[in-house]
């Protein structure tokens, strides 16, 4: 068996990346080792579990960074184009003589960037969790799940083919389920985990069928083959996939839309976003890792990975743009009304992912025209840092206050100075204030949108002002507003150094990563280009952002009754937004009333009362007939004699009249 296994892993090919390339396998294997070691040996590891997994993950970060260095600065480029390199492949299954599924690692600019982001944020979260999860009963389990998640997310971003992506996609979903439901004794956590899994699973159905469509028409699952044959308008698979149509759209459009539905589910786009706010039931570091920085951007990653194909199909790409912009605005409005700080951050995440999506949606393929693509991924990159920072800060705050509600907070700046500064910088970054990271990425998004779609541009501008407002609403409510009453609480400071260190590191990143000339590394066609910031163009968004901040300061800097007044004056609107536009209720109606009562119950009823009754009916008919026949045998001699004479008479008649 072992020999066979080894035989099936193709030897590392000669790599342009030199020795480092082969190490990419270790980036993925180390988190897996985490999962297996901690999962099996949790009894023996106990408190060492966290340290072990953190150390392993830091090794992975070092490898990822060195690979990124080699890829972007030394070996990755050939003739000015970033190459796609397959590091290793292991045979998994042949789905037809031509369709071989090889699990492996494929590096292109996008994957390398994602590898860095995922390992880096994951390591920060591991470090933070050492302190945050201390004393938990299932400490080792927690780190094992984190390992599983990191493994599957890395497998996802390094996937060589659509099926590997789908597999990791599902595994990511399951680890998310396990982590959201980590506090499994809380019914709300179990319900949230279930909801997250089922909603994304529903979206995954779209992804699965989309993959089936694309792979069937191109005869392969490999990203490269699929993209090549679907972008070459002369190829037979392109002709066949565009020639056939269903409900007025070509098969290609359907395939892409279904794939986007999969992405929208994971990335919490309208109307599949309902699981994300509930997912905040999980431990806060988990929210920072999964529900802010990595897993939820998988949808953006997916669209970006297949962007060359999306760029050909206008309908699908437009859908991406509109869904993205609608989600951005929708979530931003809801975020203004929520009082649970993690939920505010969750909606903010949804809104920012909406930004990335519509940036992809308005982008074109190739060169300067592909600015939207670079901008979307740039925003993904910067967002990972400041949003995970926000979540970790929120985690630190919750650790101290033991509550998620804004009203229990206020005036925390003196108790937690590091967290305060980190949170402030993250807020400035997300609000798009220069020179923090979010400014640069948002700026690129806005300029790409301005060029291609004015309508979305206006929505985006408005959303960015709202973003600034609700983020600072959060900031002021937590750290200023009223003074913190710490008599009721047992005060244990900001936490250990392991909790502060990740905040500081991420703070530096959130402040600095904006200066990376991102489009020189990541572009839609892998040709680097230079994108400049236009000072004149960026004035408007920054001013709007500052207006939002000022408004938030006006309302929430000191405790006052202005917010209540405003709420009272727009009560209906406020309530609608507070109840998240009743989308949850709509879903509840659909699932409870239509699916449960309308489909599942009748199905169970039919099975029990019709199908099964038919089977039982056959049995009872047999019994009835036999009972009837049995009654003829009464044991009464005279009856027998009667039958006998009747029989003779009938036979006699027959002989006389019928068979003459």
């Amino acid at each position: 068996m072992m020999k066979e296994l080894l035989y099936h892993i193709t030897a590392f090919k000669s790599l342009p990346l030199g020795e480092v390339g082969g190490a990419a396998l270790w980036i993925i294997l180390l988190p897996l080792a985490n999962f297996i070691l901690l999962g099996l040996g949790k009894k023996y590891l106990k408190n060492m579990a966290g340290v072990l997994s953190t150390v392993l993950l830091f090794i992975a970060v070092v490898i990822a960074l060195s690979i990124a260095y080699h890829y972007f600065f030394i070996d990755g480029k050939q003739n000015g184009v970033y190459q796609t390199i397959t590091i290793c492949q292991a045979h998994w299954l042949s789905l037809s003589p031509t369709m071989n599924v090889e699990l492996g690692i494929q590096l292109d600019a996008l994957s390398v960037m994602m590898l860095v982001v995922v390992t880096f944020i994951s390591s920060m979260v591991h470090l933070f969790s050492l302190g945050y999860m201390k004393g938990e009963e299932r400490y080792a389990n927690y780190f094992a799940y984190l390992g599983l998640f990191t493994f599957s997310m890395l497998g996802l971003v390094a996937a060589t083919n659509l099926l590997q992506l789908y597999m990791c996609w599902e595994l990511v979903g399951v680890s998310s389920y396990l982590l959201i439901g980590f506090y499994f004794e809380k019914p709300s956590a179990v319900a949230a985990a279930k909801k997250a899994f089922i909603v994304t699973r529903f979206a995954d159905l779209g992804l699965l069928i989309g993959i089936l469509i694309l792979s069937f028409n191109t005869g392969s699952f490999d990203f490269q083959t699929v993209i090549q044959s679907l972008t070459n308008t002369q190829s037979s698979s392109f002709i066949s996939i565009t020639a056939s149509s269903f409900l007025g759209m070509s098969t290609l459009t359907w395939g892409l839309i279904l794939i986007f539905i999969g992405g929208a589910g994971k990335s919490a786009m309208l109307p599949l976003h309902i699981w994300l706010p509930d997912a905040m039931e999980g431990p806060t570091p988990v929210s920072a890792l999964i529900h802010a920085a990595t897993m939820v951007v998988a949808g953006v990653f997916l669209v970006a990975k297949l962007f060359a194909v999306f760029a050909i199909d206008v309908t699908a790409l437009q859908l991406v743009g509109y869904v993205g912009s609608a989600s951005a605005l929708f979530a931003a409005i809801i975020a203004c009304t929520q009082t649970d700080i993690k939920r505010v951050l969750a909606y903010s995440t949804m809104s920012q992912i909406g930004y990335m999506m519509f940036a992809l949606g308005v982008s074109k393929y190739g060169g300067e025209e592909g600015l939207g693509y670079s901008a979307a991924l740039f925003h993904l990159f910067t967002h990972a840092f400041f949003k995970s920072l926000l979540f970790l800060c929120a985690g630190a705050v919750i650790h101290l206050v033991h509550s998620n509600e804004m009203k229990d907070m206020g005036g925390l700046r003196k108790l937690m100075p590091v967290t305060h500064i980190a949170f402030l910088i993250a807020c400035l970054a997300i609000a798009g204030v220069p020179p923090f990271a979010g400014f640069f990425s948002k700026e690129e998004i806005l300029s790409a949108t301005y060029k291609n779609n004015k309508g979305i541009y206006i929505l985006a501008l408005f959303t960015s002002a709202v973003t600034a407002f609700y983020m600072f609403r959060l900031y002021f409510s937590i750290f200023w507003n009223k003074s913190f009453d710490n008599h009721h609480h047992e005060h244990h400071g900001e936490g250990t150094i392991t909790m502060k260190l990740p905040l500081l590191i991420l703070m530096l990143c959130a402040a600095a990563v904006g200066f990376i000339p991102f489009s020189e590394f990541i572009s839609s066609d892998n040709h680097p280009f230079h994108s400049a910031i236009h000072i004149g163009f960026s004035i408007l968004p920054v001013v709007l952002g500052l207006c939002g901040i000022t408004l938030a300061a006006f309302l929430y800097f000191k405790q006052n009754d202005r917010p209540d007044k405003i709420v009272n004056s727009i009560q209906v609107l406020y309530k609608t937004a507070y109840r998240k536009f009743y989308v949850d209720e709509l879903y509840l109606f659909i699932t409870k009333k239509i699916i449960f009562n309308g489909i599942a119950k009748p199905a169970a009823w039919i099975d029990k009362n019709i199908v099964d009754s038919c089977m039982n009916g056959v049995a009872s008919i047999t019994t009835t007939i036999s009972a009837t026949i049995k009654n003829m045998q009464s044991g009464k001699v005279q009856q027998y004699a009667l039958y006998f004479f009747a029989g003779v008479a009938v036979l006699l008649m027959a002989v006389l009249y019928v068979w003459k």
Partner: protein, 490 residues
């Protein structure tokens, strides 16, 4: 002789068990007997592997006359598909004996019946003569009736009777089909019949008898109603055997006898099979959602999952049939694991109602983890066997481009969502959540035998999940043979 020993060994074990006196002796002898079975199967596998270079389809063949008057032979042999099924049987039988360790009441008879079942299953999978195949199929039916009526729970008499009668009806149909086959081809030999060109009209008449007959075993809609009642009334080991192997007898028969021998009719009836399979998949999944008893949940989900087997067979593409065989193996393992976990929970908590359970992960981490893994595997988590099998069926089904086939494929795909719903509902309220009943807190986790049983099944599931090509390589040659046969008889 090597293959025949597969049938003889369980029978010898039966004899040995019959002479045992004490409980301890009985179960140790039974366990050793099943271990020997596994060793024998492993040996047969190596013998098979060493021969598989040759061109012949069936290996380790042995052919002798049994009843010359009717040309009935005792003809055995294995190919990749039957090899896979034999390994599955060996694993499930061991696991079944291990989880029945605590049976005190009439334990001798229990193990004897269990071993008889395994003899029947082995005989079925190795037969190359359709009459002996039918003979062994019958051998595998009767003990089930006794297992359920004597050691069952709930409305066991009703369920046992229903199961036995419905399976007997299936057998009767199969028998009629076999007679048809015999009088058309004048032979009972699988290979001989496959080489003769049967009259298409005759095929059309014979096929429904055989397919529906085996369909009774494989939970073909609407002949699946014995499944929920039968499984839930049966004792744990019998449920494992029933869902893990018996339902596979049907799937194997549909493929090996009906589809392989009657290729023209298989293509003629393919749309109907697809329709029934797609209905079973989605409808079974929806019906599962409303169940409240853990065993009913797994039983209905078996209906849904076995639908994939029939869907794969009905699609008649190489990938889909490969997927169907993989699904048989995978579902056998998963459902056995699931029933084992449910049985362990029931033995401790004395309830299978989802509403009455809760928070068991805290009390019994091992069993609960096994339950969760079985659930995740059932909902098709990559890395476990269910995913590899289902995705193969999906990809194979998608290769049929006709609209009706596409609809059936999409309907079947949709079941992955429904499956997630019922699995997570069951897990959420029985394993997770707060501990609902005080007396659960004093319950003990799995014992060594239960752990061993679960691990054995888990290893199978994980190996197939991570390296499905191992299974696939084994079954490719016979599937290609079936495909060639189908293509030659368009």
């Amino acid at each position: 002789m090597l293959l025949s020993s597969l049938v003889i060994l369980p029978l010898l074990t039966v004899l040995a068990v019959a002479f045992c006196k004490e409980l301890q002796q009985i179960r140790v002898v039974a366990f050793i007997g099943t271990l020997l079975q596994l060793a024998l199967v492993a040996y047969i596998y190596t013998a098979y592997q060493s021969q598989s270079i040759t061109q012949s389809n069936f290996l380790l063949e042995r052919d002798c006359e049994w009843f010359p008057l009717l040309n009935i032979h005792y003809h055995v042999g294995v190919d990749g598909i039957s090899m896979a099924m034999i390994i599955l049987t060996a694993i499930i039988v061991i696991a079944g004996v291990l989880v029945s360790w605590k049976i005190k009441e009439l334990s001798k008879e229990f193990f004897i019946l269990l071993l008889l079942l395994s003899a029947g299953a082995y005989g079925f999978f190795i037969s190359l003569d359709v009459f002996t195949l039918f003979f062994f199929l019958e051998v595998a039916v009767i003990p089930k009736f006794l297992l359920i009526t004597i050691w069952g729970s709930g409305k066991k008499e009703y369920s046992a009777m229903k199961l036995a009668l419905m399976l007997m009806t299936g057998s009767a149909l199969i028998f009629v089909g076999l007679m048809g086959l015999y009088y058309t081809a004048h032979s009972f030999d699988l290979q001989t019949i496959s080489k003769t060109l049967l009259n298409p009209e005759a095929q059309k008449i014979i096929f429904p008898f055989l397919f529906i007959g085996f369909g009774f075993f494989a939970a073909l809609f609407p002949f699946h109603t014995w499944v929920p009642d039968g499984h839930s009334s049966a004792p744990t080991a019998a449920s494992m055997f029933l869902a893990g192997i018996s339902m596979k007898l049907g799937g194997y028969g549909c493929l090996r006898v009906a589809t392989y021998l009657l290729p023209y009719a298989a293509q003629y009836y393919s749309p109907y099979i697809i329709a029934l399979a797609a209905i079973a998949i989605l409808y079974g999944a929806f019906a599962t959602m409303m169940q409240t008893d853990l065993k009913y949940i797994n039983a209905y989900s078996s209906v849904s999952h076995c639908g994939f087997v029939l869907l794969g067979i009905g699609m008649l593409t190489q990938t889909a049939i490969t997927g169907a065989v993989m699904q048989m193996v995978s579902h056998g393992l998963i459902t056995a694991l699931f029933f084992a976990a449910i049985g362990m929970l029931y033995e401790r908590t004395h309830t299978r109602q989802v509403k009455e359970l809760g928070g068991l992960l805290k009390v019994m981490p091992f069993i609960s983890t096994v339950f969760i893994i079985a659930g995740l595997c059932s909902l098709g988590l990559p890395g476990l066997s269910g995913f590899a099998a289902e995705v193969t069926v999906f990809v194979g089904s998608w290769q049929r481009t006709e609209t009706a086939y596409r609809i059936a494929t999409i309907v079947s795909c949709a079941s992955i969502v429904v499956t997630a719903v019922y699995i997570l509902r069951a897990t959420g309220s029985s394993i997770l959540g707060a501990v609902k009943n005080e007396h659960f807190l004093s319950l003990k986790d799995a014992t060594w035998n239960e752990k061993l049983a679960a691990l054995l099944l888990l290893i199978g599931i994980i190996v197939i999940g991570i390296m499905p090509y191992v299974l696939q390589n084994a079954i490719t040659a016979p599937v290609v043979d079936i495909m060639n046969h189908l293509n030659a008889n368009k």
